[in-house]
Amino acid sequence: MSIQVQNIHKAFGHFVALDDLSLDFPSGELVALLGPSGCGKTTLLRVIAGLEQADSGKVLLDGEDASDTHVRERQVGFVFQHYALFRHMTVFDNVAFGLRMKPRQERPSEAEIKRKVHELLQLVQLDWLADRFPAQLSGGQRQRIALARALAVEPRVLLLDEPFGALDAKVRKELRRWLRRLHDELHITSIFVTHDQEEALEVADRVVLMNHGMVEQIGTPDEVYRHPATSFVYGFLGSANRFEGRRTAGGIDVGGTRLAAQADHAGEDSEVVAFVRPHELEIRLEQQDAGIPARITRVLSVGALTRVELEGSGSQDGQHYDVELPYETWHAQTFTAGQQVRLQPRALRVFTHNETAGRA
């Protein structure tokens, strides 16, 4: 089932959580709502579920206006950040809850409920825990039970609020893969909220980047990573080195050093911000004229990658830069900590300043 939200506005007192936001979630996709905390992503999820009422705007489920439909009738499955399992019920009763609450005419027989609950518990591979209470489960198990409980009522949409937020790193990775597989099996339209860019890029079909109650960019993980639309998106998706300067013909000028860049933004001599990923920044010898002057402060060689931390010198004094390069490349060169070098970006993304001013 498709979901559309149109011109949703929601404020809590003076704080605007969602600012005239419109989005389309196509049927059958797994979409990630990604953004820093306080960007309005959870509020949007709750508005879609009906747990929160928008001040204005519409939510369309399958093309029908559902703004005035009660949560009960929206047929959404919601997985809460802290699972919200009923602590006084066994795992079985938790999963059966939605079926048992149905009006008498629609309620399946107890035998049918039993069959269905066990089927769901098998789906989440936790059938052997049916008699336990939530307090006796690990975080990852609780998460999967919460998902089974949400799926029991055969929702048309699955909404997950920070589904892996409260888990440790290893379980988190396992569950991510597992959720992706589950979605490929069930093909139910799903939206999940996360502040972890790695999680969003790895699991989702499509990523919606949000900031300050507005959508910054929508696209496949590859699109948003390779072609970030705004400086916020660039900065949020992975680490970045930041340069401030002025636009010149065919490049930018950073404190007297000219860096080449694609001239995709008009307006010469305007203030700009440029970003470079750590693996796209090259370290060169001081004698070469081009590049930003910097001094190597620290070298970290762990595994296949070497991370070099540098501090800007001259006009860029006090700036911090990160460079990543393969261990072999680093080893073949003769740089040492404390040495004066020049930094030359291979790919530079330039954003005009007013684009950043209101958002970053």
Binding site: A49, L51, V71, R72, V76, G77, F78, F80, H82, A84, L85, F86, R87, H88, F97, G98, M101, K102, R149, A150, A152, V153
Partner: protein, 275 residues
């Protein structure tokens, strides 16, 4: 060694783990001192008075004891106390749950006022509370003329006693529930609604099971206070023997008449119902 340690942890027996090692064990003198202080305090201030009540009640033998309980004035007092509790505790139960629900689940104007109002009976002296009812409902009070015109008696009658009892017992259940419900949050209830549960289903299947122990404790406290209330009830009751005397008032009258055995006999029977 490490096997024993993990075993102890598995049994959630932190205390035993701490006791098992010299490094974490408390000085035996400190332990003994704390125990003696705690138990001694309870013995002197709680157990001793109770024991005295029992001994004094039976000082003149079982006959006097039973007589004190079965004479008409005592039976009337017992009956009145039970009725007042039977009315005020259910009222407080409904009101307390409703108030705690409203305060912890909704945002509304006047929320702080409601919280203050719930605490009011704790901060007002019971005698003053009784006097307020006298001022409002007695013959010379605000509604006095209207009430006597319609032949309704509140002060110096059972309705007044019930009103006073309700007033002093209002905070117990709500106060017990509010912190618990705040700590538990509303996520489980939201989960139930998303799964299709209706309002009363959410309350019955999710809210109530989560608050049942706090609720029970609130009911016990509220019942104990309802049966034991002296000040407020004393002001509104008028002390009419056999009619508006509750148990605490009856005990006081007997005591003032130097009828110690009967006073203690009645006093003895009443903590039994209180809990």
């Amino acid at each position: 060694m490490s096997a024993t340690v993990s075993n102890l942890y598995a049994q959630h027996d932190r205390a035993a783990l701490l006791e098992s090692r010299q490094a974490t064990r408390e000085n035996p003198w400190v332990k003994a001192g704390i125990l003696v202080a705690a138990l001694g305090f309870f013995a002197v201030f709680l157990l001793l008075p109770l024991a005295v009540v029992f001994v004094e009640a039976l000082a003149k033998g079982w006959g006097t004891y039973l007589e004190a309980l079965t004479e008409p004035d005592a039976r009337s007092a017992i009956w009145l106390t039970l009725s007042a509790a039977a009315i005020s505790v259910p009222l407080n139960l409904v009101f307390g749950v409703a108030a705690a629900w409203a305060i912890t689940r909704f945002e509304f104007r006047g929320k702080q006022l409601l919280i203050t109002l719930i605490d009011l009976p704790f901060s007002v002296s019971p005698v003053v509370a009784g006097l307020v009812y006298v001022l409002v409902f007695s013959n010379h009070g605000w509604f006095g003329p209207w009430l006597s015109e319609h032949d309704i008696k509140i002060i110096f009658a059972i309705p007044g006693i019930v009103l006073a009892t309700v007033f002093v017992t209002v905070p117990f259940i709500a106060r017990e529930l509010i912190p618990l419900m705040q700590a538990q949050g509303r996520e489980e209830e939201e989960a139930a609604v998303v799964l299709g549960a209706r309002g009363w289903q959410v309350f019955w299947h999710v809210t109530l099971p989560n608050i049942r122990w706090a609720l029970l404790y609130g009911v016990i406290l509220s019942n104990a206070r309802a049966m034991g209330e002296f000040g407020a009830v004393s002001v509104v009751s008028g002390h009419i023997r056999g009619e508006t005397n509750t148990l605490p008032l009856h005990v006081e009258i007997l005591y003032n008449e130097y009828n110690f055995a009967a006073a203690f006999a009645v006093a003895r029977c009443w903590p039994c119902w209180r809990s």
